[in-house]
Symmetry: D2
Subunit: 406 residues, 4 copies
Amino acid sequence: MGFEKTERVIELNAQVEAFMQEHIYPREHDWEEFTLDPDNRWQVPGWFDELRAKAKAQGLWNLFLPDDYQPWSPGLNNVEIATIFETMSKVTWAQPVFNCNAPDRGNMEVLAKYGTAEQQEQWLMPLLAGEIRSAYAMTEPQVASSDATNMELEIVRDGDEYVLNGRKWWTTGAISPRCKVMLVMGKSNPENDRHHQHSTILVPRDTPGVKLVRELRVFDNLHSPGGEAELLFDNVRVPVSNMIKGEGCGFEIAQGRLGPGRFQYAMTFVGLAQRCLELMCQRAEERVAFGEKLSKKTSVQHEIARSRCEIEQCRLLTLQAADVMDKQGVKAAMPYISMVKIVGPTMCQNVADRAMQVFGGAGVCQDTLIPTVFTHARFCRIADGPDEVHMSQLGKLTIRDLVSAS
Amino acid sequence: MGFEKTERVIELNAQVEAFMQEHIYPREHDWEEFTLDPDNRWQVPGWFDELRAKAKAQGLWNLFLPDDYQPWSPGLNNVEIATIFETMSKVTWAQPVFNCNAPDRGNMEVLAKYGTAEQQEQWLMPLLAGEIRSAYAMTEPQVASSDATNMELEIVRDGDEYVLNGRKWWTTGAISPRCKVMLVMGKSNPENDRHHQHSTILVPRDTPGVKLVRELRVFDNLHSPGGEAELLFDNVRVPVSNMIKGEGCGFEIAQGRLGPGRFQYAMTFVGLAQRCLELMCQRAEERVAFGEKLSKKTSVQHEIARSRCEIEQCRLLTLQAADVMDKQGVKAAMPYISMVKIVGPTMCQNVADRAMQVFGGAGVCQDTLIPTVFTHARFCRIADGPDEVHMSQLGKLTIRDLVSAS
Amino acid sequence: MGFEKTERVIELNAQVEAFMQEHIYPREHDWEEFTLDPDNRWQVPGWFDELRAKAKAQGLWNLFLPDDYQPWSPGLNNVEIATIFETMSKVTWAQPVFNCNAPDRGNMEVLAKYGTAEQQEQWLMPLLAGEIRSAYAMTEPQVASSDATNMELEIVRDGDEYVLNGRKWWTTGAISPRCKVMLVMGKSNPENDRHHQHSTILVPRDTPGVKLVRELRVFDNLHSPGGEAELLFDNVRVPVSNMIKGEGCGFEIAQGRLGPGRFQYAMTFVGLAQRCLELMCQRAEERVAFGEKLSKKTSVQHEIARSRCEIEQCRLLTLQAADVMDKQGVKAAMPYISMVKIVGPTMCQNVADRAMQVFGGAGVCQDTLIPTVFTHARFCRIADGPDEVHMSQLGKLTIRDLVSAS
Amino acid sequence: MGFEKTERVIELNAQVEAFMQEHIYPREHDWEEFTLDPDNRWQVPGWFDELRAKAKAQGLWNLFLPDDYQPWSPGLNNVEIATIFETMSKVTWAQPVFNCNAPDRGNMEVLAKYGTAEQQEQWLMPLLAGEIRSAYAMTEPQVASSDATNMELEIVRDGDEYVLNGRKWWTTGAISPRCKVMLVMGKSNPENDRHHQHSTILVPRDTPGVKLVRELRVFDNLHSPGGEAELLFDNVRVPVSNMIKGEGCGFEIAQGRLGPGRFQYAMTFVGLAQRCLELMCQRAEERVAFGEKLSKKTSVQHEIARSRCEIEQCRLLTLQAADVMDKQGVKAAMPYISMVKIVGPTMCQNVADRAMQVFGGAGVCQDTLIPTVFTHARFCRIADGPDEVHMSQLGKLTIRDLVSAS
């Protein structure tokens, strides 16, 4: 009982931590300077690929893939993955070094779970190898997309092909030249019941008719090198063999994709928040204001204590979500997955917010990663569904459970 | 890994739950009507002692005492105790039915751990049997008592006796006629270093010189039948054999007493909050306002979701505290114990607050236990040290850990 | 421009302040000891009536009644009344000393505005003279009463009488033996449109068929000497001349009554919160903890600053509501009245909450009035409609104004 | 009594509003696209200067300068200015169109109040004419600059010149090629008492030795075209005639500059927040999710209501600050100025936060100005002193006032 780490995880985590210390932390600012430089737009620095090769060579690769995805999984369960994830999330751009970043994570899971051998050969292998990147096109600008049954992009069969027409936005990573394939969700079977009208289909990024409408800016930031695309699908044709699992399975796939994704997201926020807390503590010890160290001020002590309490609680909640997934499956874990989606980003935003106040001017500029954490966490209170949608779902679920139970 | 319940706990918890359903819930309002009636001041209803006898007969008795307190412990570890505690805390007055209430809990632990055979015979046995009640006199009105080194009550040796002079308040339970003995903390050795100046000594409640200055009202409520006493110790004489452990050990005893106490308190708030959530959900399903059930309103759904997230996180944090206590001892668990002390009462106050709003007028009157939960939780943000003191300690501890570690 | 006090108000306010200093503050604790003593239930202390006589003799009487209620008004407008109200609200029980307390305030306004000469002679005169007390029976237990169209108590004409059948609760003051008359709202004309089905009618408190079902406890407190009654109206008969204004006018009367009532309530909370702030500041200056005055701790400074900001903002909002009422009437002031209803109680609860933490143990017991302020403010987030109802109304109103405007 | 608008302000405000409608709102997105394009870094679009000329021609120019600054003031008092400021703040970049932007505002006030005729001729005239821009260099990276006595930049007299050595950052606007002069605060007289050691001196932007160390990014945004500079002053020499008022007057100047500046800032946040509220209301009316308009959801209604309450309270507080400045001077207004500095940015951040949630994905990208408002408000909880510093000052001030008064 209790969340103790296994030997294997302690060792693996120490390796990841050592890699972070040696290769990632020292380049933290380099990355930001490079990627915010307009001359480098949509590019990554040369050293970044070298680091990826190093991580891969050390076996710190694809660790996100749980052990039921054999033969591709390194063999960790979700609780074990959680710890590794926290460690590798302490720098905002470190996950892709370990080939553990969204949306590739979720896309690889989908292909591993539902893909045909051919689809796996063509797309999963290079993704697992880190040779290409992918995107997931779900959200649409004209409808409230957190209700997935609203999706309007049309998928119509025409002989041996499907023809796609519609509009997507918030397609993360689709602007990067490394992005080679997209998983696109659309309405293929309007005659079916609400939860079987949609399909998910593979669309190579360079398919004719896929048009970049615009690059979305998030808090005035283009999120290079990945980017957030608004895309027009204008008579986009793909072979029928690109359909994943089958017509009408889009919902099932989306659901299956979201569970692990949300738990991994939440652990990302735990890592980011823990980093902010560490920075805040260091600053409090070093900075003197009005005649005493900040660490002597009760208001600063309280902000640190609040942050620790919130981080620890979110960490435990995420571990619990992972544990229930491991032992009882995604479905049983749904309430926990809802909870971590609601709790994670807000927790992290709040911790980053307090850290900024402790840093003063240094807390809102490029001197630390805190402002990036802050806006990222804020963004994620909307990405993948606004908090309000998840709270309504969890609220209704809770009423159902508790009222029928009593 | 993960907080799964053992077979033994699942069974025991089912027994406690059944007892609650059969005997406690149906009398919830009776208790309140009885104890708030001025004619019954400091008394308990007759059926209350019958219930205690029943609980004892079923072995649902002293379950709070962890298995290292042999031969008196029923043998549960802290994680196991936690689950039972949540269940028995769903009604505000249920703990004493199972002989699991503060401050007797902590006093029994102290006597079991530090008491002489004679002290255990005289006081621990009847406490374990539920024949008497006890009190713990620590806080003093004239000093900030959350800094325990401030305690001023004088304990002076005079031959075979100690003589006590000073003032205490917030001595919970000391007004009840069932209270027969008090553990009193005072300054006996001012010549020692800061943490070895105080002692804890046994004072029979009826010792001459122990004077009830006044009955404290908490939010205008006398907290009958236990009460919160302000006491004057005016040349109170007890035999030297009443000293617990030895002169100067008061601090150590207080520290040892607080760890388990705070974790049990936190689990109490989890139970109370969970009960409020259940009531809130039922109300939301039953009540119609402005043309629809409350459960259909997104604002109500969100309040329920927020409450569930907060309760679940506090529950896991408390289980974690218990688990670390079980495996690594109280000292290693100190940060977790700090955290649950900070998080528990506020969490419970907030959940009760939301529940009241969902109930409207019925939420602030005697129709539910919610207002009592609300004021109790609010009170406990001060009892046993204001939140601010604990946050300062945890803040300083966190800075020390994180800055030295980095 | 700006809220400067008139000469008249400065002078009058100084008189009220002097009266408070001389007669009220010194008896603050006496009142509480007297009224919480079960032997005095529903009674007031003898000195209380002496103070009322003194206040009346000094002309500090009925100051709440705005100058359009001639010949009974002392002639102040609402902005002027606001200042006086803040001053006389600094002790929880001081308003009735000046005959300025709810629900008599609102009842006197109704009678002054809508009453027949006969009704005024019989009920308004003794109320203005402070010889009797009154109650206002609106809320019903079985329906969500914040939607006033839900009211179900039946008022049926039978010859020269109306017959009332139904149930009311939260009828403030109706338990006091001084309460001689009630304004009761009920459904008289179900055939009319939604807003003209109800009437308000005068029911002498001792009319046969008016039965006290139970005394409601608010946070376990009976609110003696006024009390909150649950009442059964069982074939209660009153002469037709007791109808106020006319059948179907209940809604209009309720609306007219609420505007000034809510502004006065809000100013009450400003006074109570300001008092808590004063006490908190004094405590912070006097109390030493962990080696320094509380006032030196930044966390305490911040709590004081937050409180001042919130109080000042609520004060200005309430003055603004009063000013718009004075210059443009109650209807134009509706958004402001909504706002002060939403803001006032929460602001006061929060200030009291912080004050309690600064006081520690002394902050939750009878040593200060703060706990009473805290529970009163908390109660008023439900009384007269839960916050949520008012926020929904204000939200809808704001959308209507801003969307149509743009 | 009450904050009614004068005829003059109603008319002037209508003019500003009309100008906004005709010229500013339609170009809102153009501005952002232009200034975020790296090719336009530190430049403004051509149409921007045309708009400035138009505004100047219509007399909508320098309205920020209160009527005691004759002959340059258009003659409004601070309460009147407040209303105009709210209107012109509804688009983030509109203030400079009316020559009413920080830091030029404050710099012009300083030169108008303390400048010699020669200084006014050389710098004030072109600033008032809008021909040049200026900067204010106060904050230093190596010290907690919210305690202004910490400033370390050295100002040493050497014959007819002063020599400056030191480092500044957060020098707003200093990167723009239009910036021609800076007001620099530094330590000139270390032998004096704490509040007379510093001076403020004019430094032309192109003086040799003024080196741009780096461009600060605020939440990853360069704030082009103005920019936030980190500057090195390396043996920077200016004639003694550049000293403002006299050696040792730096503190007095900083204080005088801050009062009006903070009130204007606060009104900026009222305008920005009001704009977010308008957008949020429109979105709530237009967007359908889960089968109904967002405006029908109680949670959305509540967020709108909360926002309106907070905006209105901050507006009144800011008007009150202005009113006290007008009638009793800056010194008497200090508590109000502290309060608006504390309340304004947080209020605006919270309103923008809620607006983003109502917009969903559209709320965090370039589709609205809301994300820019959000990060700007967040930034301003640190700019000009972190909230915590102002809360400590206000807290101490409040204790002094209330404890000595009682």
